[in-house]
C-alpha cells in the first residue's frame, strides 16, 4: 500500500543518505583527492560519499515504489526533552557545577516519561544526585566542583 510521502520511511531514509552523502562530498572537495598511488585525505571520503548517495537513490526509489510507513510511534515529549536534558547537563556543568547539572538532568529526563509524579521525581532526583556524587566525585575522584562560585 502506498502512503503519503511524509510518512514513507524508505523515502526519508533515502533522502537522509543522499543529503549526508552530498554534504560530505561537498566538504571533501577541500581535501586533496590525491591518486590511487598516494591516496590524499579526500580520496576515501569522496568515494564513500559517492557510494552513500548511490544507496540513497536506490532506497528512495524503493520507497517511491513500495511506500512502507514509518515504524513505531514517537513520543514527541521524550524526543524533545531527553536530548534537552543532556544539553542542560552540559551547559550547567560549565556554568554552575556538578550538583545543579545533575539535578537538571534527572528532573528533565524524568519529565520526558509518561507518568510524572512530583514527590517521586523529587525523591529520585535527590537519591540519584547524592549517589552519583558519592560514586563519581568521592569514590572515583572526578575533579568537578559540586557547585561553582561558592
Amino acid at each position: 500500500m502506498k502512503s503519503a510521502l511524509g510518512k514513507n520511511k524508505d523515502f526519508w531514509a533515502g533522502m537522509m543518505l543522499i543529503v549526508i552523502g552530498a554534504a560530505a562530498m561537498f566538504i571533501a572537495r577541500d581535501y586533496r583527492f590525491g591518486s590511487a598511488l598516494r591516496m590524499g585525505p579526500g580520496f576515501f571520503p569522496t568515494i564513500l560519499s559517492g557510494i552513500l548517495i548511490a544507496f540513497g537513490v536506490c532506497i528512495t526509489a524503493v520507497g517511491l515504489r513500495s511506500g512502507e510507513k514509518i515504524q513505531g510511534n514517537l513520543s514527541l515529549r521524550a524526543f524533545l526533552l531527553l536530548p534537552l536534558s543532556l544539553v542542560l547537563f552540559g551547559v550547567l556543568m560549565d556554568l554552575a557545577g556538578f550538583i545543579p547539572a545533575l539535578t537538571a538532568l534527572v528532573f528533565v529526563s524524568a519529565a520526558s516519561g509518561r507518568e510524572f509524579k512530583w514527590g517521586e521525581v523529587m525523591l529520585l532526583t535527590t537519591v540519584l544526585t547524592v549517589a552519583s556524587t558519592a560514586l563519581f566525585i568521592w569514590g572515583l575522584g572526578l575533579p568537578y566542583p559540586l557547585l561553582k562560585g561558592f
Partner: protein, 498 residues
Amino acid sequence: MELLHNLVFGFGVALSLQNVLYCFIGVMVGTLIGVLPGIGPMATIAMLLPLTYNVPPVAAMIMLAGIYYGAMYGGSTTSILVNLPGETASVITCIDGYQMARQGRAGAALAISAIGSFFAGTVCTLIVAMFGPPLANMALKFGSPEYFSLMLMGLVTAAVLAQGDMLKSLAMVVLGLLLGIVGSDVDSGVKRFCFGVFELADGIGFVIIAVGVFAVGEIISNLSDPEERVVFTSKVGSLYPTRQDLKQSTAPILRGTVLGAFLGILPGTTPSIATFAAYMIEKKIAKDPSRFGHGAIEGVASPEAANNADAQCKFIPMLSLGIPASGTMALMLGALMIHGITPGPGVMTSKPDLFWGMIASMWIGNLMLVIINLPLIGMWVSLLKVPYRLLFPAIMVFSAIGIYSTNNASFDVYLAALFGVLGIAWRMFGCSPVPMLLGFVLGPMMEENLRRALQVSNGDPTVLVTRPISLAFIVVSVLILVIMTMPAVKKRRSDITG
C-alpha cells in the same frame, strides 16, 4: 599440549583476585540488565565503558564480557517467568519456557536453561581457545590488501545477515565508515569534517556514538512504545529438574550448542537467528511436535544452549582478527582501542594475558552465573517490578557523566544528544544503527589498509583481486550478496529476521 599450557596461563590471569572481582561485577550487572526492562547489553556496555578507564585493560574487558553473557542469562529468566524476553535473543524461550512456568515448572525450566547455557559456554570457551590462535596466526601473515578485503567481507556479511532491510544496512555501514574517519587524517594531518570544532580533531568519541544511539536513542524509543509487564508467577517451584527432564534435554542441548557455535562465528548473525533455528530443528525432529508451545522442555534447552554458544563464539573473530561480528563485539573492540590496544591478530602475541585471561574468564563467568543465579532467582524476580520511569533517569545520569568525564568536554555531551536524535530517526526509517557502529569502528583501519595496499601495488586497485587470499574474501563477499538477493532466499530471510 600448548592449548593446555595456554589455558592454564589464562586461568592464572583470570583467577587473580582483581579479575575474579571484575568478572563477578560484570556477570551481576549483566544479569541485572538482562532482567530489567528496556535496557540491553549494548547500552549498558557503552554506558559503563568510561568507568573502566582507570581499570587495567584485562580486568575491564573481563567485566564488559561478563555483562554481555550475563545479560543472556538474565534475559531467559524473564522469558520463562513473565513471558517477556529481557533480550531479543530470548524471544524463543518464551514460547515453551513460559508454558512450563504456568504448569508450575518454572524452576525446572530455569535450571535446564542454566545447565544448557553453561554447557554451551564451556564447549565454546574451548572452541575459542582452539580456533582463535590458528586464525590469528594465519591473519598475522596478511598484508594490507588481505586485511582490507577481510574487513570488507566482515562488513558485507554483517550487513547482509543483520536484521532488517539489506540495502539500508549496507548504506548504514558506509555511513559508519564516513563517521569513523572524522578527525585528523593520519597520513596528511588534515582535519576532516571537523567544522572548526577543536573537540572533533581526534575524531568522534566512540563512547559518544555508542551511548547516544544505543542508550539515549533506546530510551526515547522505549518511552514511545511502553510495554506492560505483569509478573505471572512468584512461585518458582523446585529448582531441581527431574531425571526425565535431564534425559530429555541432553540431546537438544548438544544440538543447540553445535548450531549456535556454527552460526556464532558468522558475522552479523544475531543470537535470535540461532535460537530460532534451534527451536525449529527440535520441533521438526520431535516424535510429537504438538507438545511444542505447551511446555516442551526441549524448546527451552536447545535455544538456550544455542543462544549462549552463539554469544561466546562471536568472540572468535573479534579476539583473533579484530573484526566485530556484532554490535556488542564492536563495543568490545572500541573498548580495546580506548585502552590503547590495537585490535587485530597481533593481540594474541602482544597481549597474551588479555587473550587467554578473557577466554578463561568466560568459563569462570559462566560458572558464576549458574551458582549465583539459581539461588538468587527470587531477588531477580522482585527486580522485575522496578518501574521503567525510575530506571531511565538513572541510565541518563550514567551516560551523561560517562561521556563528560572522557574528555571533560560539554561538547561531547551535546554531540551525544544529537546522536540520540539521529538514532531514533534511523530506527523510525528502518535503518538499523548496528551496521553503522561496525563501520564506525573499522573506518580508520579500512582507509589505512586501502592506502597501504595501493601503495604496495603502485596504485593498481586490482591488487585486491590478484592476491589469492584477498580474492577469496572478495569472492565470498560478492557470493553472499548475490545469494541474499535471490528472491527465494530474500523471502526466507525476511521470514526469519522479520
